[in-house]
């Protein structure tokens, strides 16, 4: 998606939802390692990762979590979004080559402040790998 949705606060109701899917490549993991500084071998060293209980390299948890930013910044509410807070619970590992589905649903809306609470669930093969709550303000 190249252009963000442009939802106004009045267009958004509790229960509104959005979803999209994303596959993680090796290039994504390398780029995130460079940007974040997290060059832990669990993400970058295949030989090392094989010795762990995971057996292969993991996608960084925060890289998976960054899809919450895409959800609120591009889909719900989209363009008029100001991030206030985000909680994340990493439930299962994501590996290079995996495709995940990101779903967000509006759980609460404050008409006076423009604050939205969005529940986020990220799944792989219908199993939840991450969940969290995004608190954003819909800008006027």
């Amino acid at each position: 998606m190249d252009n963000p949705n442009d939802l106004l606060l009045k267009d958004i109701s509790v229960g509104d939802a959005a979803f999209f899917s994303r596959m993680f490549t090796q290039e994504d993991v390398l780029a995130f390692a460079r940007l974040s500084g997290d060059k832990n071998p669990l993400h970058l060293d295949e030989a090392y990762a094989r010795t762990t209980r995971f057996g292969q390299r993991l996608v960084h948890g925060m890289l998976v979590g960054s899809l919450c930013s895409a959800l609120v910044g591009m889909y719900l509410p989209g363009k008029r979004c100001l991030y206030l807070s985000q909680t994340l619970l990493f439930r299962k590992p994501v590996f290079i080559g995996d495709t995940v589905v990101v779903r967000g649903i509006v759980r609460a809306k404050s008409g006076s402040t423009g604050v939205l609470e969005i529940g986020v669930s990220i799944t792989k093969d219908h199993e939840e790998v991450l969940n969290g709550i995004a608190t954003v303000q819909a800008l006027t």
């Binding site: 206030l84 404050s110 006076s112 402040t113 604050v115 609470e117 608190t135």
Partner: protein, 77 residues
């Protein structure tokens, strides 16, 4: 159900013994514009009510906000 004071304590990171209706943004270091928005949103969610824009903008002290909740007939603990 959380009480008004519990929400104040959680959002503004103060102990419940410090809370009084006379406290304002001048008294609470964590009372900035962002935390105030989050505070109002938490109150609306917890007490199932809506503040008007005017009420949000004109409230100066915790007592002003508590008075709005009381006027709505909500039990705030």
């Amino acid at each position: 159900m959380r009480t008004f004071s519990e929400i104040v304590a959680a959002v503004f990171k103060i102990s419940d013994t410090e809370i009084s209706d006379s406290l304002s943004s001048q008294d609470i270091p964590e009372w900035d514009s962002m935390n105030y928005l989050l505070f109002i949103a938490e109150l609306e969610k917890e007490f199932d009510m809506s503040f008007s824009m005017d009420e949000v903008m004109t409230a100066q002290r915790l007592g002003d906000i508590r008075a709005v909740i009381e006027a709505r007939g909500k039990k705030y603990g």
